[in-house]
Symmetry: C2
Subunit: 218 residues, 2 copies
């Protein structure tokens, strides 16, 4: 019984994700679904990305269980942003496609080329859900340890790119970047890998160029 | 239909959690359920705790989606440890009471006074599940940001204590400990709060004394 209901929920999600994908394609909008642990630096990455590239013609959907703090941070950059709070819906640990469909109704989509979705901070559940994005991007900070791709493999299998954040902290850590890259390659050899520091801006150019290229804004 | 099945799953979990709690009480074992994001430093905290306090007469249950890396780290300390991998069970994002009941069958419980459970790295889902523990402990690293109690309130409401980890990195961060303490108090004024560095050992004495006291090993 439980399995049947889960299958039904997933089938319903996939149906809505297909509708979201068709809606975005019809408007020429490319969507990134950013997924990472709480505190991995997803919002800081978005802030830097948006500040660096007005030519992305971006819009943002922020997912959190509670608070509108992240949406407020990004709205300061003059970008259209909608905050989803899953708290009233049982504190859901991920964004489902239904949330994205609802959020798109609230966004002024005219002229938008790039949709940046920041999922709920969670390395597990969001990886299981198609929300109609064109690609999932894993966000992993160097403070989380080299072993995370092996311990949470689904996200790194599902993602097309991974952004390694907080590289400015490497000097203060016993962290082996080569080992992390080896673990990433073991899980998904096709991953595009970026190393960035939102604090110093290091590595942001390569990442932003990737976003621009995939979104067709190059 | 979905809600009914979820209720049934939770009711079944709570029933098993009650059995686990009774089994532990009958043996005089006190159980901590450690919950935090991937990379929050839960395993390093356990390593330091176990090394500092043989008089806890500890046993450990390690939860991960994949790999036995954490159990291997702890087994080196000569402590009875069982690794649960949720990967074969749909990659579950949390430990349910059924996993704990099964793990207890594999542990030599004679003489054990303290059970330390390290949950799957996730700030969301594990907070929803009673696994038969005596108390939940939130583990939050300073690299994750001051806002986490507000954005992921359930865990901090359910926990009796929070261990703030990686304080050795404070010098490299723009992190406001007073602000974090304020946010913790806003969510749960009754939390016992500890600040530790597993790297330097700072603050470990207070935390270990708390574990000892609650486990009745003082």
């Amino acid at each position: 019984m439980e399995i049947k209901v889960v299958q039904k929920v997933m089938a319903e999600n996939d149906k809505i994700a297909g509708e979201v994908r068709a809606l975005l394609a019809a408007r020429g909008i490319y969507a990134f679904n950013l997924i990472g642990s709480p505190g991995a630096g997803k919002t800081a990455l978005l802030e830097r990305t948006l500040a660096a590239a007005a030519d992305l013609h971006p819009a943002v959907i922020e997912g959190d269980i509670a608070t509108t703090a992240d949406a407020e941070r990004l709205a300061r950059l003059g970008v259209p942003v909608v905050q989803i709070n899953t708290g009233p819906f049982g504190g859901e640990c991920h964004l489902g496609a239904n949330f994205i469909r609802a959020a798109l109704d609230e966004l002024p989509l005219g002229g938008v080329r790039t949709l940046l979705i920041e999922n709920v901070g969670n390395l597990v559940c969001p990886a299981e859900f198609d929300v109609g994005e064109n690609e999932k991007v894993a966000v992993l900070s160097v403070t989380e340890g080299e072993d995370k791709p092996l311990k949470y493999p689904l996200l790194f299998r599902e993602a097309r790119a991974v952004v390694i954040t907080k590289t400015d902290l490497l000097a203060a850590l016993a962290f082996d970047l080569a080992k992390l890259r080896q673990n990433l390659a073991a899980v998904n050899a096709g991953l595009a890998v970026f190393e960035v520091s939102a604090r110093t801006g290091a590595g942001m150019d390569d990442w932003v160029a990737y976003v621009r290229r995939n979104a067709g804004c190059a």
